[in-house]
């Protein structure tokens, strides 16, 4: 199972986790919901979407943004949901890791978070419309008013708050590689650690596109399911009747550190990160490569970096967006990489439960993958009923499956053709 080029560099392990999702805020509730196959998809409540073509999303409901926005001075007035999700996921990861505050401020500790797009406040912009024309002077006066909310929240806002709140002095990165962003942030941190540049990293990502422009914009692209009446069932990756994705939101942060460091402080180890691959389709901005060549390259590159052949992978946490093209092409790519063995590898899409969390997807799905190690069950692909001729793998339909395998590949394929694959390994102390 090992290839000829054994990986060089230090070993990297996961010693802390934090997650915010529509099916659970916090690791335990998230794990429970994954194993139970719960759907987080409901009618949108974040704004009045009743006149929108898409009225459903996987919202984080058990999280009071307003309270969070008032909790401390550094977030007061920030109503961009993803910022609060990112902060909460970080807090849980940090607390669970047992990392000292001194370590956070060490120059060899990195912060590396993925995020997709600033959220514009369209109602704030609209408040400056007079006689159906934009009144720029009014918009300026409103924007400059003391205490006014920013019209846009810069993408580094979560990083900025964390850096100041926790005294982080090392490198901090804001990765904006669309749906691959948080997977890249984890993979990038893994690489830096392996290359010896850092010893500890807080990495992952956060996102929320459940706002008028996010839902509206993705609707216009035809990427979203309009089967509003089906609610959670509308999100059905790999099912023959899938007709688009459903937006989700949330965040996940992982604490990565060198194995040596983790052992020295007797840290609890959730899993080991052993491979990362990144590629670009370089095909079309609107569509994935029809042969899945970019996805194939990301997976092969991850295997190469892990020093493994494809035989070593025992579960694949798929990108699985529930769009007709993506699921078919990901299936094709998996078959290319794994050959005849592909049909025997369990493949599931966590998005069936949590929706497509865009930039946060990769990190949340990384945590979902680690749940398979820690609970010995694979999260299912829920809503899978109708077999698709072109999607003919074992998608772990509807019910979680007992599993004690050792290695997981998790895929994140971004809008625009950026692909990232990570390989995780069960931690065995002996």
């Amino acid at each position: 199972m090992e290839n000829n080029s054994a990986p060089e560099g230090r070993r990297v392990v996961v010693t802390g986790l934090g997650v915010v999702s529509s099916i659970g805020v916090g690791k335990k509730t998230f794990y429970d919901a994954l194993a139970a196959g719960e759907s987080g998809i409901h009618e949108i409540t974040a704004f009045d979407a009743s006149s929108f073509p898409v009225k459903i999303a996987a919202e984080v409901r058990h999280f009071d943004i307003n309270r969070s926005a008032e909790d401390s001075e550094d977030v007061r007035g920030i109503f961009d949901r993803k910022v609060h999700f990112g902060l909460a996921a970080f807090d849980e990861a940090y607390a669970s890791s047992g990392v000292s505050s001194d370590a956070l401020s060490d120059a060899r500790t990195a912060l590396n978070l993925g995020v997709s797009l600033e959220s514009f406040s369209i109602d704030q912009i609209a408040s400056s419309v007079r006689d159906h024309r934009m009144d720029f002077a009014r918009l300026y006066a409103e924007a400059m008013r003391a205490g006014a909310s920013p019209m846009q929240t810069p993408l580094d806002t979560t990083n900025r708050i964390l850096v100041r709140r926790y005294g982080i002095t090392g490198m901090n990165f804001v990765n904006s590689s669309a749906c691959a962003a948080s997977a890249q942030a984890i993979g990038h941190s893994f690489r830096m650690m392996r290359r010896g540049e850092i010893d500890l990293a807080f990495c992952g990502g956060m996102d929320s596109m459940i706002n008028p422009l996010g839902v509206g914009g993705f609707s216009l692209l035809g990427a979203l399911s309009t089967s509003n009446d089906l609610l959670g069932v509308a999100m059905r990756p790999f099912d023959a009747r899938r007709n688009g994705t459903v937006l989700g939101e949330g965040a996940a942060v992982l604490v990565l550190e060198t194995l040596e460091r983790a052992l020295a402080r007797n840290a609890y180890i959730h899993a080991e990160v052993i491979g990362f691959g990144s590629s670009c389709d370089a095909y079309k901005p609107t569509d994935p490569d029809p042969e899945g060549l970019g996805a194939v390259q990301a997976m092969n590159s991850a295997l190469h970096s892990a020093g493994l052949t494809s035989d070593a992978i025992e579960y694949i946490n798929a990108h699985g967006t529930s769009t007709p093209k993506n699921d078919e092409i990901e299936t094709k790519a998996i078959k290319t990489v794994f050959g005849s063995r592909a049909a025997r590898i369990p493949v599931s899409s966590t998005k069936s439960m949590i929706g497509h969390c865009i930039a946060a997807s990769g990190a949340i799905e990384c945590v979902a993958s680690i749940s398979a190690f820690e609970r010995n069950v694979i999260p299912p692909t829920i809503n899978y009923v109708h077999k698709d001729h072109y999607c003919d793998l074992d998608y772990v339909p509807n019910t979680a499956r007992v599993w004690t395998g050792d290695r997981i590949l998790t895929n994140s394929f971004g809008f625009g053709g950026q692909n990232a694959s990570l390989i995780l390994q069960r931690w065995r102390s002996h």
Partner: protein, 419 residues
């Protein structure tokens, strides 16, 4: 084995021109590309002075019309800079596609108010109140269905990768100059480690629009008067926004040698640090800047005393510039003070494009014997000394990206003399 990283191609678009030669010549002549620019809504702002690219006809420069339709201004600029870097490198198609990476720095999404305005305008009812019902039933239909392509920060990278079939590893870092410089460092590290053979690394940004002026003013960074005064001068009162893109073609020395490529410069090292001490968006805590510069020199394996020139991130923000100067003076002893340059004086602050632009200009300067627009550095409280324009055999340059945000990054590049 750690591979050495060469810069073998340069491409750029800035208010000073569309070619490296134009930019260098105009910088050498201390020409400015800054002027009043009448963008939509400018009358409502205190001023509209910026470094806009006015003689710019992207439709005639971007031959891929299908992609062109999807591009915003930043993507157009990035696409042109990347194409010019590829052409300049003379690589043609002599690279393994999946061993070529793309690493890009992009800025705040801010130029699309013109695209959002119709949505806002059609979401307001007769009483002037915003209505979700109107947004859903009427305004969305007025929206450009391709809006997502225009506002996602990773799309510039996607277009570049498509055009040059760069199928290897890639990353987009955002939104400020320090983050953008990290893209160049990560590209270099990926080549050093042997993960890839070559990469396009750079940045793009456009802040010559209403939303950017508004955002920069809210952050306390924008010049109040639009004078565009020289950094460190008494009249400096804030930054002048600019726009542009710059790309470097990077490759391992082995890769460059195989094809007998011209080498402008070598990337020697880089580093970044986070400023956890300052509540301000501009630099106000010098020790973090010092740490970034010292770490970059250490990573490059050079003594600070070997640095001949610093391309600073000074942008006429009085406190920010003073902090950077203070940090530089702490790191470099007075008798070995490198020459300082602040290119924002000529182009406006290119933001996420600035680190790649500065790197490209320094790399090009290594191959030239002519002038470089060094800054006059105040030695005392009042005095300004004009510095010597000739670089006199500049061999090692430090590029700083400190001006905005918590990430403070530095890069060291060196002259290549064939050894």
């Amino acid at each position: 084995m750690k591979h050495r990283v060469a810069i073998t191609g340069l491409g750029m678009v800035s208010p000073l021109g569309h070619t490296i030669e134009d930019n260098y010549n105009r910088l050498s002549a201390r020409e400015r590309g800054i002027a009043r620019f009448g963008f939509n809504g400018h009358e409502a702002l205190p001023h509209c002075t910026c470094g806009a690219i006015t003689e710019f006809h992207p439709s005639s420069l971007i031959d891929n019309k299908r992609l062109f339709k999807l591009m915003n201004r930043e993507s157009q600029l990035a696409w042109i800079a990347a194409s010019r870097a590829i052409t300049d490198s003379r690589i043609d198609d002599r690279y393994v596609k999946n061993r070529m990476g793309v690493y890009l720095g992009t800025g705040l999404t801010s130029g699309e108010l013109d695209a959002l305005a119709p949505i806002a305008e059609h979401s307001v009812d007769e009483e002037g109140e915003f209505s979700y019902r109107l947004l859903g039933t009427q305004a969305l239909a007025k929206c450009n269905p391709l809006l997502s392509f225009k506002i996602l920060p990773n799309m510039a990278l996607s277009y570049i990768a498509i055009e040059h079939q760069a199928q290897g590893p890639n990353m987009v870092f955002t939104p400020w100059p320090g983050n953008a410089l990290q893209a160049i460092v990560e590209a270099a590290r990926s080549i050093q480690s042997g993960e890839i053979d070559c990469a396009l690394a750079g940045g793009c940004d456009s802040k010559t629009n209403y939303v950017s002026f508004l955002t920069l003013e809210r952050l306390g960074l924008l010049s109040r008067t639009g004078r565009g005064a020289t950094p460190l001068s008494p009249l400096a009162d804030g930054l002048i926004p600019g726009e542009g893109a710059a790309c470097l073609f990077l490759e391992s020395f082995e890769h460059a040698a195989q094809r007998n490529a011209r080498i402008y410069s070598e990337i020697l090292g880089g580093a970044s640090a986070s400023d956890c001490h300052s509540e301000k968006q501009f630099p106000s805590y010098a020790p973090v800047l010092e740490a970034a510069m010292r770490s970059a020199c250490a990573d490059a394996g050079v003594e600070c005393s070997q640095i001949d020139c610093i391309c600073t991130s000074m942008n006429s923000h009085p406190q920010g510039d003073a902090t950077e100067l203070h940090a530089i003076r702490s790191v470099f002893e007075d008798d070995r003070m490198p020459a300082l340059a602040a290119l924002s004086e000529y182009t406006g602050d290119l933001m996420a494009a600035a680190p790649a632009y500065q790197t490209a200009m320094c790399a090009y300067a290594f191959t030239q014997k002519s002038h470089f627009p060094f800054l006059s550095v105040p030695r005392g409280a009042d005095a300004h000394e004009r510095s010597d324009d000739t670089h006199n055999g500049m061999r090692t340059a430090l590029i700083n990206a400190f001006s905005i945000g918590t990430t403070k990054a530095s890069l060291v590049i060196g002259h290549f003399d064939g050894e």
